[in-house]
Symmetry: C2
Subunit: 332 residues, 2 copies
């Protein structure tokens, strides 16, 4: 039993009454009923988790976890060397990354948390990514990071050279099908690198053939930032904070949660569909439709952050627009 298992106990549910109130209001607002479709559903969803019939998104916050991967240190599965993880982390800290630029447009803050830069995980081809003790430490670090946040909508993102390899291993192990189909080019690896990546994922998946607990799969073939994301998403649930998921790595990170508790991602939406081919298949598996589909494949929470204005507008469409009765006055 890991700390992540414990964190999954007693998950709160959304406030059905607040959501129902928004649902009812949406049907009477000064526009053709149903004209905003999905956006009205987003406002309902925020209302349920914020436990208010006047949903708003005023303080979105991005939380990025970064770490290094043992497999990337010893095998060229990425187009970039492991040192890039630390360099990008520095850019997040100085507000100079793409997610930072997006966040400023959205009025969001960004917090970057180092959960293992320079402390690579085990080489997942031959050994567990994380020993149980470190796994639990990462879960606690991530949960504490969420508890420190001041925000009303959480965007989770990641950075870690080699982490689409780990994501493919999780997806292949938990969602099944042909392993190679879960392996994409990530940041843009060449054909030889893609071949190495496929072999690495196949070896990792074969190594853990007997592991049935999805969270153990995450510990065995995941990575530090992937564990942190899973933990942060559950910690946000305990704060009733809705979450916008990002691309392939984030989605693979949270897949184990929903296999333990099918309601575990009810407080999450998917910001975008990545160009990484496995992502669309994972989303189908989760039954979640992405808000955006723009061929992005950056990670660092950028696709999720790009979707934040839609959620904010959805709420404004409920709270700032009168109903027909409010606008025209009471009927005689």
């Amino acid at each position: 039993m890991t700390r992540l298992h414990e964190l999954l106990w007693d998950l709160p549910t959304a406030d059905a009454a607040s959501a129902a109130e928004v649902h009812d209001r949406a049907a009477h607002i000064l526009r053709p009923s149903g004209a905003l479709a999905w956006l009205d559903e987003l406002a309902e969803w925020i209302a349920g988790w914020h436990r208010t019939s006047r949903p708003r998104v005023d303080r979105p916050v991005g939380l990025i976890f970064a770490a290094d991967h043992g497999v990337a240190a010893v095998e060229a599965v990425s187009a970039y060397p492991s040192e890039v993880t630390a360099a990008m982390f520095d850019a997040y800290r100085h507000g100079r990354s793409t997610i930072s630029a997006f966040a400023r447009q959205v009025g969001a803050t960004v917090v970057a948390v180092d959960v293992g830069i320079g402390k690579p995980t085990g080489d997942i081809r031959v050994e567990p990514a994380l020993e149980p003790e470190r796994f639990d430490q990462i879960v606690d670090t991530a949960a504490a990071a969420v508890d420190r946040l001041d925000g009303d909508l959480l965007v989770v993102g990641e950075m870690g050279i080699g982490n689409t390899t780990a994501s493919a291993a999780i997806a292949a192990a938990l969602a099944g099908g042909e392993t190679a189909a879960w392996v994409g080019r990530g940041t843009g690896v060449d054909d030889a690198g893609l071949a190495r990546k496929r072999v690495a994922v196949q070896r990792a998946v074969r190594r853990i053939a007997g592991v049935t607990d999805p969270i153990e799969v995450l510990r065995e073939v995941g990575g530090a930032e992937l564990v942190a994301i899973a933990a942060a998403v559950v910690a946000a649930r305990h704060r009733s904070m809705p979450v916008v998921l990002d691309g392939y790595v984030v989605t693979a990170s949270v897949l184990p949660l929903v296999m333990i508790d099918p309601t575990a991602l009810d407080h999450c939406i998917v910001g975008h569909c990545s160009a990484e081919p496995g992502h669309r298949r994972l989303l189908e598996r989760l039954g979640k439709r992405p808000l955006l589909d723009l061929d992005m494949r950056l990670g660092e929470g950028s696709g999720a952050m790009a979707a934040v204005p839609l959620v904010a507008m959805a709420c404004a469409g409920i709270t700032e627009v009168p109903t027909f009765t409010e606008w025209f006055g009471q009927p005689d």
Copy 2:
């Protein structure tokens, strides 16, 4: 020769040098090359029309044209009576509509222009929507409205009970195919209304069977706000102001332009794909991919306004993020 024909003369082109500079910068920015895909292309596009290598979207502006339709006054082709046009116009003016709420989230202003509320167009089943003189007046009004705007990205929208009937007639007349396939439920007309709407469109299209000039088609079976949109889009081009197109009505309004000059919409992107079924087909015809696909069907520029943050973020992703060289310093 109408005023709209004249407006289509001597259209300026984008500044290729500025666009190329952004294209080059995008390839060297502190992220995997190509990771933002389409968003980098949006920044290039803004750069070309703004004629600067440092594209920004700081002052988006929504321009909504509203008018009444003769066919809606005499035949129930809409779920709502014509009086709703005036009521909604009032809501725009008071900042209480959905587009107004969206605009506040985006930092945009909204300008609503009455081009024929209470002055319905002709019943397109039996007569031209607009006589040549009124057509030209509307073109001048719309162009003048654009000239008064202070903005760096134009969102065009519309309101007019009955205007999806006019849009379907334009699309059927100009894009061909089975007329009924261009007719959808608009604001939510019932089965009987949909049948009346199909008949109305068929009659209108049959009436103008001999008309070959696309702008004459717009005058014959369009509507005042549709003409205004077409004129505003061309006027924006003369100011080198990029435009975000909205849903079915806006797209049908500008279809004649591209049939006169294939480059006429080079300064336009499509904000979203509407739930109105003809819209997707029209977009395929135009070869334009919508940024959003959220099942919205409101009109009033709401889907286009919802896409504005993506354009602003695309620009920030170029101008506010360093290149690898800027971040790491000059290579040795």
